[in-house]
Amino acid sequence: MPKIKMPKSAPSIDMTPMVDLAFLLVTFFMLTANFRSTEPVQVDTPSSISETIIPKNVIMVTVDKGGHVFFNITGAESRQDLLEQMGAKYKIAFTKEQKENFLKMTSFGCSMRDMPAYLDMSAEDRQQLVEKEGYVGIPADTTRNELKDWISLGNSVAMQFGKISYEEALTTDKNAIADDFKPKFILKVDSKAVYVYAKNVIDIFRDLNLNNLNFVTNLEANPNATQ
């Protein structure tokens, strides 16, 4: 029987293509990544065919499946101004660190009374807070409607900074549209939440005469789309 001759050289694999591919993917993900922000609550949004991408200047109210309300506003200047105005209205003073923490976080859900303590917490503690019993989120009932203050003050603050950025944009782009810079109102509701919870928030918006609302949805295929 002939003997099979084994090659003497060590078994080796050329890894170069794999490295190439790995770095290509790394580069791709680095460039496309927009980091997942840490929200205090996980919300599973319903799906729709809408392809409108979430605008830049937004006031977002989140309603989780337990009906807790969270508030978020974009823009560092708006956030800073809004916290100061709310602090003045509810006579609460914030320390420098607390103000900085407010700029760093995204949505928040607590009453103004608990706000300083909430701002001192770590992001993980805030997430755990939601699961605790007796947690209420932002008070939004008729007796103590803090959400209404957040929305109405937030709207005026965001309107003001939107106007400034519009004027800035006008200097470079003559065709800038003023409406693009105005704050938009976003509702992020959990698909399992009862509609009555969302309706409560919607009614607050409508009381302030803000009738054009947007719901955050997952994209699904349009059955009518012609390819």
Binding site: S12, N34, P46, I54, Y195, I202
Partner: protein
Amino acid sequence: MAEIAEGGGGGHAKNGKKRAKKQSTRIDMTPMVDLAFLLLTFFIMTSTFSKAKVMSLVYPAKPEEGKNDPPQEIFNAVTFIVTEDKLFYYEGQYYPEATGDKPKTQLIETDFGPNGVRKLLADGNKSVIEGKAKLDEELAKGQIADTTYKQRLIKLKKSNDALKVLIKTDEKATCRNFIDLIDELKIANIGVIAPVDIMQSELDLLKAKTK
């Protein structure tokens, strides 16, 4: 490189002459690969692929206090009532009792399947869907401008022939059903969507129906 280490590693020739050790020009890439995949995993885990999408919905303005506008007669309207797991509708005006030639309003059950609400809306809103198809064609051919297309589409959606939809919810309806219904309305090109409060008599009717 990814190779199994070989013992020895030549250097001494048989004739005893000393030669310079042959240096391998290959670099061990394993740590680099490790690093690359570590970074890759990190970016995959932390990135969100797409930005969130939003669906806009314009609510009717709240009537000013003390000012009670007479209810307008709406042509070609359908009212949907969303409950926890079911979907009902009735066409036209609501009649709590039989009045004149109009019988008492009955709720009809439907569902989110392709033969349920989608077919119903496609039939009811046929004039708009056909009109939109015509406009789309004209736009594709370049016969009309983008702005006129938008204007005519809005006009079409608000015409008397277009289907108008009112949405009412009972206290157990979930947001998923509500959004799904709005989504169906958008698919069917419904222009006038009005989420309104449910009336007590409708709730009673609903209760009798779901029992």
